[in-house]
Each structure stands twice: as structure tokens, then as C-alpha cells.
Symmetry: C2
Subunit: 238 residues, 2 copies
DNA sequence: CCAAAAGTGTTCGTACTACACCCATGC
DNA sequence: GCATGGGTGTAGTACGAACACTTTTGG
């Protein structure tokens, strides 16, 4: 087959998670920004932010770029989710979408553009979306919840330093269930990925909690296949 | 950006695993078939079997098709691995490759085409490959080893029925380390995915082992995102 | 009987859970 | 002091690793 005749468009889309209080429960929960489609197919429906992959940008760069363009956000975590390539997922056209998922901090999400055509939704309570995007978000949510339990990605929702309670609340928001503070503390302390600082947070009506930060000698951005090779890598995105 | 000007070629490649005795140790180990490139870039080097994605075939179909074309094999397991899209991974061209990994049975692998331009290699002892294919195989091996420990994919290397020792030997071949027969038995029995049959294998100079088969009510092919939604699915590829 | 692999029992250590309890601060 | 969350201790349980032991066949 000649490449010129391939006729397949290559897109990226990104599921961008931030934590916000859920309107029903008041508890913190994952939210995502969606953009309203102006043209057909699926004109008028909400869809994941995305766009075509440029000639001279990698897939991850393309994801970061259109994330920045549509929401003015820079992710603290970005990882490939899956490549969706069913023939009929876009009517008339043939589009293969490489989907990424990203985490951003709540403060950033506050500043994010929001308007007629960009709006944030609670990730587990979405309207009908364009294309196969409902399925994609479900999968991204599953990945987020699975991965938060065995990796350090929760950190991407927080700033440089944080208390163990703040970290636990991130886990609780993602998993949507309460965690035992005592056991959570021991688990995370024994994982060896956390460094206690001397600073404490004063001003609360209780014993001041210690601030922690992550051990920066461990990678936070998922490099895909590469991250399993190298062991001494130190690059970290804040 | 107009799609017509995108100028990105979309390919699939597949890492196909079969188990064969390793020449050094004599122990069973993962092998993969590679094809020799005839043209530049990387002419003369070995590479993963692959090809362009057709206009009217899904990514998984494309993987299965070129797997059949290059090795005359049909996989018992097929799953997407990762989409590789760095700008410079192919000199001059811009190629995005969606890579799949597949498992085939040893008997099938015996019949597989092998010749001047198709040859099997021990997966952990490869020559320098074309493109970024060495990295890809490393990643696929990592995925295989990780997944064999928590899922039922080992079954894809075996026939309809098998003894627990045969199943254990598959795990040992993949993980390249011996497993305790007693503990392995209990683990797999308590997982509830195995059904004992009445048949036993006689003729050995020892107590005849019972034959087992997998509970077919559980999916073997990885449907990607979809497999996490449905719970009652029953489709199985033998 | 012996060899060899199938299959069972038992002990030990680790890790997670639940929950009682003490500590340090603001008011 | 007292309320509030920070932080520690501890007993119960589940699960995997290690390994001794019994069972059933062929020779």
C-alpha cells in the first residue's frame, strides 16, 4: 500500500483531570474539561479537547499543545492512554486518535478558560459525548484509580510540599472512598518516596501537621516504554 | 491544520511471542519472529513484522493481518502495547506506529514460515534492530512478564487442556525463574479460573496428573478499554 | 522396592485492616 | 479544659514463601 493513499487522519485527544468538590456530595472528586463541537459530526455535543498531530511534533507534544490551546493549562502529569482506531468511530472520516490523560492542580484548573465552548464536568457524571468519548473517559478514570494505588501520581494534584492529610484527601477524591489516616500514613511512609521537611503548618485548631515533599530522584512523567529501562533518571516536572 | 497535509504515515507492528527452548540453557523461553528489511531505511537489519494500516481495517485487524501475512500465524492473544510517535524514529519519513503484542502456541510457531527473511530469535538476546524496535521489544517483554503474574494470559501458550505442571512451566519460561509447584498449584486453584477435568495423563513414570481447562466464561482477548466496562462477556478466541 | 512427579500439610514472615489511644495546638 | 485533627501502638487476618511429607504411577 502506498502511504500517500492511506487516507487516515491522526488525532490526539486528552482526558484532563483536576479535583473539585462534587456538587451533590460536596466531597472532592475528579473533573474534566470538555469542549463543545461547533461543526458536524456531532456538532453541539461535548467532546474531549483534541486536534490533529502536527508534522513535526511528537504525540506527547501534540497532546500538551492542544491541552494548552484549549484550556490554557500545563499538565503536571501526562501519559498515553490508548490508541483508538475502529473504522467507524467517526462517521464518514477515518480517524485514529491517540488519547492521553493528564493531571493538573486545582489552582491551575481554577484559572482555566471556561466559557460557552469550554466547560468542566464531574468525570463520573457526563452527558452524552461525541464519538466514543464516553468510553474513553471511563477507561481513563479506571486507569487513574488503578494507578493512584500503586504509583506516585497523586502528587501531581498537589504543590511542592503538602501534609499527609492533603495527600490522603487526594487519594480519597480519586478513589471516592475514605481511607484510614493511620494506615495511609504508614503505607506512604514505608514506600520511601516521601521526604519529611522541618516545616509545619500552623494556625489550625489542632496539632500542626508536618509538611512533606516527594523524593525528586524518581520520575513523575510517564515516559512510556523508556521509563522501564532507565533506573537512575532524575528529570521531574513540577 | 488541514488533514490532507498531515503527512504522517500510520503503521502497525507486532511483537509475537512463542515459547521455545533457549539454546544456552535448554530451558523454555520467549522467542519472537523478526523480518529482514530489504530496503532503506535500515536495509539489511532485522525488524518487527508490520505494515501500513488499511483504510477500512481497525488497528487490531491490521495487526492480525500482517501477523498472518509475515508469519502465517493466528494469535491466541492480541493486545495493544503502545503508540510510538517520536518525530525522528524513522529517518526522513514521519511514521507513527501502533504496536501490538501477541501470543502464539509453540506448535503453531513450529509451522511458521522461516527463511532467509523471517527468523525467530530469543527475545532477551536480540541483535541491533531497525528503528526503535529494540526498545519496543524490551517493553513488550516487560508487559508480558508483568501481566502473566496477575492475568490468565499464560493460557494462550497452551492447548485446550493442560496439566498444572505445563501451566507452571509456561510461567517459568516467561518469568525465567523456577516456581514452587505446591504454591503455584494453590494460587491458581484458588483463583477460580481453572476447571478440573476427569481426564488424566497416563504413561509417565509417575503419578498421572489431572488435566485442567480454563473457565471459558472469562474473556481472553484484551478488548482494551471495553473490557473494563462489560462484565458478562463470553467471547473467547481459541 | 525405587524413582519421579503429583499433590497435601504446616510453619513462618510480611502486609494490610480496624480501631484504641496519646499528642500538640487554638480557643 | 476541651475540641480537633496529628500521629503511634497493637491485635487480627490474609496471603505468599519455604519446605517437609504423603500419594500414585512406571519400571
Amino acid at each position: 500500500m502506498a502511504r500517500e493513499e492511506q487516507g487516515i487522519a491522526l488525532a490526539v485527544s486528552t482526558v484532563i483531570f483536576a479535583l473539585r468538590p462534587h456538587p451533590d456530595t460536596g466531597l472532592s472528586a475528579p473533573w474534566i474539561p470538555l469542549v463543545r463541537r461547533i461543526a458536524d459530526p456531532f456538532g453541539g455535543l461535548w467532546a474531549l479537547p483534541g486536534g490533529w498531530v502536527g508534522q513535526s511534533e511528537s504525540l506527547a507534544d501534540a497532546a500538551a499543545r492542544n491541552l494548552l490551546e484549549t484550556t490554557a493549562l500545563e499538565p503536571t502529569y501526562l501519559e498515553q492512554l490508548y490508541a483508538f482506531g475502529d473504522v467507524d468511530r467517526s462517521p464518514a472520516d477515518r480517524v485514529v486518535s491517540v488519547v492521553y490523560w493528564a493531571l493538573v492542580r486545582a489552582e491551575q484548573a481554577q484559572q482555566a478558560l471556561e466559557g460557552e465552548n469550554v466547560r468542566w464536568f464531574a468525570a463520573d457524571d457526563l452527558p452524552q459525548l461525541a464519538f466514543d468519548h464516553n468510553v474513553i473517559v471511563e477507561y481513563a478514570l479506571w486507569r487513574l484509580r488503578t494507578k493512584v494505588e500503586y504509583s506516585r501520581i497523586a502528587r501531581a494534584f498537589l504543590g511542592e510540599t503538602f501534609t499527609l492529610t492533603e495527600l490522603r484527601e487526594v487519594h480519597e477524591a480519586v478513589l471516592q472512598r475514605p481511607l484510614d489516616p493511620a494506615n495511609f500514613r504508614r503505607q506512604v511512609e514505608s514506600s520511601g518516596t516521601l521526604v519529611p521537611t522541618e516545616a509545619k503548618v500552623e494556625g489550625g485548631r489542632h496539632r500542626p501537621p508536618r509538611l512533606y515533599r516527594y523524593d525528586h530522584s524518581i520520575e513523575l512523567v510517564d515516559n512510556g516504554p523508556l521509563s522501564h529501562e532507565k533506573t537512575g533518571s532524575t528529570r521531574v516536572v513540577s
